[in-house]
């Protein structure tokens, strides 16, 4: 899904939230946030004070004051400078503290939101894909709160502060400067519509182009075999040329904004110069005040300019904030409100179950009923998309059926606490996720308190022990670390060891589609046969040889159990 499409979808589902909507989240670490903003403002104020004092000293000297007359001011100036430097240090400290504190709010909040959605999707992205996007967004937000937000507050407060002080000194001067503030601040909005459109067009085109480059690298072999390497490059070139036109208009527009900022700033200084000269000739202000006025004009507008230049990044920030909010507002798929006791009979029964994934009109399951007797094995077959995995997801209670009930023994699974259900049902999935931790930790996932002996027994039964001890660090080998690339067959067997240790009486076995080489395949078969022993098994089967081992076979088709096929004698 493209960024554009995400944006569109975002707007459809979320009310006007964006960056402002995120502020309540950040206020969970209220003190650091306030401190960061205050520190930024103190630093800015001290900075302005230093500038004004410097201008005043020079003005005094130029109007013939004696050294003694401005020496106290000189000491004050050096004091201001030291204080400014210290305030900036303080600001950096509290900003970093805020950023680190926000990790707990944002990153952990994302974990919670994705946990509620898993294994479903948010904004059309599967949780696995969303993880990377959201993590990057969170870092963007931390930067925003720790650094950018303070700048924005300062851009509002500092100029107004300077102008109100100026009003006391000379209201006409303040009045002359006033129009420049909204003028400068509004620059990013002049061409905002145009900027937004151009920005989206350029970034979409750039994204597509990057995608093509990646394809050219990954498809090197296919391009070489078909002799299309050069042709593909030419295709890339022509696309780049097409992008160039868009880029030029984008560059022209953002150049205009830069020019406007520069010219308006100069105009403000010029206006101050002219007005203060006129005021001086009319005797309304003293001569030595003119340098102070010019310095003040530049100092008052400086923070606004700073912000105007970062405003072009606001769109990106807003999109990130909206994604994060969508994750935070993600409702849980199921409600964990059950309190029934663990059933004693481990048969599984789907009773007229219907289900559609949230946000999809099309029902995957319309009316599905079947039963697996305690200790029996049932194979579900059907084309991909028929709903086999959906049945597994419902039995694991990742979602609740829209209609119908799933029973374990005589207990509706939604009346069991989820912790209890987890002890009863487990799955050996097709694509196994191994965490970037030791193999031992991975096997212990379901039972962290298992002893080494228990873990080893599980690994032996899963035909995994032998290859694990052949690894450089045995059970302490970190999965996914450089050089330790486990084959899919080995990963499967670690998943089986994990399931052995977890020891749930009901097992969902999602048969891997890919073919393994002979040695691996035999070991996997042995392990699978072992773990099925004495368990109630739901087989999601692809191969005839596997299907043949079931006690009963059901075919899913068009959302219903199409037929109950006779098992082959075995």
């Amino acid at each position: 899904m493209t960024g554009l499409a995400i944006d569109r979808e975002m707007r459809a589902i979320s009310p006007p939230t964006g960056l402002l909507g995120l502020i309540p989240l950040a206020t969970r670490s209220k003190a650091p946030l306030v401190l960061t903003i205050v520190a930024g403002m103190v630093a800015q104020a001290l900075m302005v004070a230093s500038l004004v004092t410097g201008g005043w000293i020079a003005g005094q000297a130029l109007t013939g004051a004696t050294v003694d007359a401005f020496t106290p001011a000189a000491v004050l100036l050096l004091g201001f400078v030291a204080a400014t430097a210290t305030a900036r240090w303080w600001q950096a400290h509290v900003a970093h503290d805020l950023a680190f504190g926000l990790i707990e709010v944002l990153q952990v909040g994302i974990y919670d939101g994705l946990e509620r959605a898993a294994p479903g999707s948010i904004l059309g992205l599967r949780t696995g894909e969303m993880a990377g996007v959201a993590n990057a967004d969170a870092q963007l937000m931390e930067f925003f709160y720790a650094h950018t937000l303070g700048d924005y507050v300062a851009a509002a407060v500092v100029p107004l502060g300077v102008l109100s002080v100026l009003t006391f000194v000379e209201p006409i001067l303040a009045l002359a400067l006033l129009p420049f503030l909204p003028l400068l601040a509004s620059i990013p909005f002049w061409l905002a519509r145009c900027a937004g459109k151009q920005g989206h067009a350029v970034s979409a085109a750039m994204g597509a182009l990057t995608g093509d480059v990646v394809e050219a690298i990954q498809g090197q072999r296919d391009l070489a075999i078909f002799g299309q390497g050069q042709a593909y490059l030419q295709r890339l070139s022509s696309r780049t040329a097409a992008l160039g036109e868009q880029q030029r208009s984008y560059g022209g527009r953002s150049g205009l904004e830069q020019a406007a900022i520069d010219v308006i700033l100069s105009l403000a200084v010029l206006t101050t110069a002219v007005v203060s000269t006129l005021l001086y000739t009319n005797g309304r202000i003293a001569l030595e005040f003119i340098p102070v006025a010019v310095v003040l004009a530049a100092a008052a507008l400086g923070p606004v300019v700073e912000v105007t230049q970062t405003a072009r990044k606001l769109g990106e920030l807003r999109a990130g904030a909206e994604r994060i909010l969508a994750i935070f507002h993600q409702p849980p798929n199921v409600l964990d409100a059950g309190s029934f006791d663990t059933p004693t009979n481990f048969s599984v029964r789907f009773d007229r179950v219907a289900f559609a994934y949230p946000g999809e009109r099309h029902a995957v399951l319309k009316d599905v009923s079947f039963c697996i007797g305690h200790g029996q094995a049932v194979a579900l077959i059907g084309i991909s998309g028929a709903g086999k995995s959906t049945c597994a997801n419902l039995l694991l209670r990742f979602w609740d059926p829209v209609a119908g009930v799933i029973f374990i023994g005589d207990t509706d699974i939604s009346s069991l606490p989820i912790t209890t259900l987890c002890k009863l049902v487990t799955i050996i999935p097709q694509d196994v996720h191994l965490f970037n931790e030791s193999i031992a930790d991975n096997i212990r996932l379901g039972r962290p308190d298992a002893t080494a002996a228990e873990m080893e027994t599980a690994a032996r039964m899963a035909q995994a022990h032998d290859f694990i001890i052949d690894l450089p660090k045995g059970y302490d080998t970190i999965c996914g670390e450089r050089g330790v690339l486990l084959s899919s067959g080995q990963r499967q067997r670690i998943a089986i060891a994990r399931a052995f240790l977890h020891d749930a009486p009901i097992l969902i076995l999602d048969e891997p589609v890919s073919n393994l080489d002979t040695g691996n395949e035999r070991a996997l078969h042995t392990a699978m046969a072992a773990i099925r022993h004495n368990r109630t098994v739901l087989l999601i089967a692809h191969r005839q040889s596997t299907i043949d081992t079931a006690d009963e076979i059901f075919e899913l088709k068009d959302g219903t159990v199409d037929s109950r096929l006779p098992p082959k004698a075995h």
Binding site: A58, T86, G211, L223, A273, I383, L516
Partner: protein, 572 residues
């Protein structure tokens, strides 16, 4: 500024220089603005005539107008430079990659080349379009200010220079002391991010094992520890902000005070004092710019090495000087071929000899790591064998031009690459001139025609980013159709059925069998059932041919093949 990085810009260097020039002029306008303000105030304080006062203000206004124009030009030019350098570097790198060929890509971990070509180019682009102009114009502006002030009063310029030089010196000394501690924090932050991402990606698994709560507590704990350990170190390191701030503002403030005293004592002119007030600050701008862009510069220095590595990489296979004509026959023979990968120390193939008669189907079987797929890579000349010869119709393939060789051979592999575009586009990669009827014909043979017709847009269906919307089996069958469309007389199947379900496997099997007798075929297979009908089965183990013969004959021998067959088919 780094000559090695700049040299890489090639023809874009001119454009970069234009950007630099514009930025230098922009900076000069900036400086001129300050100078004119100083002259204006000087005129006011000295009670000069209104004419002269107005003249300086007009000069300031003129500089402001120029500034506006140049700011616009600068931004436009930066965008153009960015685009041009990206375009140039990408083409340079991809052209080189095309010449290096698939062998180079295959010998590298996935993602590495992507990082070099996509991210590396991105970083250099920023270096060329933003960093160089900013830093060079900053340096010129700094020198200009020092000269202007120095012309009025050398002592002021000298003092400014002292503050200017002191800042980076002190900063570097400070950072060198702090860096080891800082990099520890950086590593800890990265590892926290990796831990978070790993757990986010494994959330479903955590749910299944009721481990989400435990992991959450661990995540919170790690975030706390990170904060507690990082803050004291960062805090001390951040003292540099105070130090550099003290030197910059302190320097300017000191000079204003000192020059005010000197003016009061009558040793400098009013203009010098005013220049100090309005220009001295500008001296420190380039340092601030550098500070801001410091990370970008470090990144560019880091990106340059792998990019140069790719550009300087030696070709793996050379083109024949006087290419031989296309052979008349497609009989393939491997004669005593020995091969080791450039990075490996052990040969993957040792003295391998066999031949595939024209129009026959030969199967390569054996445990993983036996060297089966390597044989196909060598036949396609992705790599060059160290010893021995590979011939097609009696001609050594290294005597054929690469274009001719690859027109003879095509391959269907286990990881199929489909390109962004429609199904028809993807098929036509094999033969851009193919008619719609041609597409239908090959799709029929590949047992995918029915599926394509069932799609709402048929052959014009978009395959999605890298074929993500199609199942493995469907992509595989499209790849077979594509290979057939190329109509090469030699067809290779490299574990073409290893990622597909039973229905697709059957369909692919049927396509392969339908082609038997029409093409010279080599089929590499994990599953032995798929190759029973081959004219000849070559059994490989540890880089050598251990036995060959028909399915029946090999079973009778009772060697490795019969052991492999016996090991298969055990039900789950």
């Amino acid at each position: 500024m780094n000559a090695e990085i700049f040299a890489l810009a090639g023809p874009v260097r001119g454009r970069i220089m234009i950007s630099v020039m514009i930025d230098v002029m922009l900076t000069m306008c900036h400086v001129a603005g300050g100078v004119f303000i100083a002259f204006w105030l000087n005129a006011v304080f000295n009670g000069e005539r209104a004419n002269s006062v107005i003249m300086w203000l007009l000069a300031f206004a003129a500089a402001a107008v120029f500034r506006g124009v140049l700011a616009w030009a600068s931004e436009s030019s930066a965008q153009a430079t960015a685009q041009a350098s990206k375009y140039y570097l990408r083409e340079l790198l991809l052209t080189k990659l095309n010449r290096l060929g698939p062998g180079y890509v295959m010998a590298r971990p996935t993602g590495e080349l992507q990082t070099i070509i996509v991210n590396g180019v991105e970083i250099l682009e920023g270096h060329f379009s933003r960093f160089l102009p900013a830093v060079m114009s900053g340096a010129v502006g700094c020198i200009a200010v020092l000269v202007i002030i120095g012309l009025n009063d050398w002592l002021t310029a000298l003092l400014l220079l002292l503050f200017l030089v002191a800042q980076p010196l002190i900063d570097q000394a400070w950072m060198r002391r702090r860096m080891p501690k800082l990099s520890g924090i950086f590593a800890a932050t990265v590892s926290f991010g990796a831990y978070l991402l790993d757990n986010l990606q494994g959330l479903s698994t955590l749910k299944i094992f009721d481990a989400t709560g435990r992991r959450r507590s661990e995540l919170v704990r790690r975030a706390r520890v990170l904060r507690q350990e990082a803050m004291p170190k960062i805090s001390v390191t951040m003292a540099r902000i105070a130090i550099t701030g003290l030197l910059t503002f302190g320097g300017v403030a000191t000079l204003i005070v000192v020059n005010s005293w000197r003016y009061a004592a009558g040793s400098i002119s009013s203009l010098t004092l005013l220049l100090t007030v309005f220009l001295a600050r500008e001296v420190f701008r380039p340092l601030e710019r550098l500070e801001k862009e410091f990370h970008a510069f470090q990144a560019a220095k880091g990106a340059i090495k792998p990019i140069k590595g790719l550009l300087d990489a030696k070709l793996i296979v050379g083109e024949a000087m006087n290419p031989a004509p296309l052979p008349d026959s497609t009989t393939i023979s491997f004669e005593d071929v020995t091969f080791a990968y450039p990075s490996g120390d052990r040969p993957v193939l040792e003295n391998v000899s066999f031949s595939v008669p024209q129009g026959k189907m030969v199967a390569l079987v054996g445990p993983s790591g036996a060297g089966k797929s390597t044989i196909l890579s060598l036949l396609l000349r992705f790599f060059e064998p160290q010893c021995g010869a590979i011939r097609i119709g009696g001609t050594d393939i290294s005597d054929l031009s690469l274009e001719d060789l690859r027109s003879l051979v095509t391959v269907v592999s286990q990881d199929v690459q489909l390109f962004h575009g429609t199904i028809a586009d993807n098929l036509r990669i094999a033969r851009p001139s193919a008619s719609d009827a041609d597409l239908r014909e090959v799709a029929g043979i590949a047992h995918i025609a029915e599926f394509i017709d069932s799609l709402p847009n048929g052959y014009e269906t978009d395959v999605g980013e890298r074929g993500a919307r199609l199942s493995g089996g469907e992509r595989q069958r499209i790849a077979i159709a594509r290979a057939l469309l190329k109509d090469a007389p030699i067809l290779l199947f490299d574990e073409a059925t290893s990622n597909v379900d039973v229905v697709n496997e059957r369909a692919i099997q049927l396509s392969i069998e339908a082609l038997a007798g029409h093409r010279t075929m080599i089929v590499v297979a994990h599953r032995l059932a798929t190759v029973e009908k081959a004219d000849l089965i070559i059994v490989m183990d540890e880089g050598g041919v251990v036995e060959q013969g028909s399915h029946g004959a090999l079973l009778r021998v009772g060697g490795l093949y019969s052991r492999l067959v016996a090991g298969e088919g055990t039900p789950a």
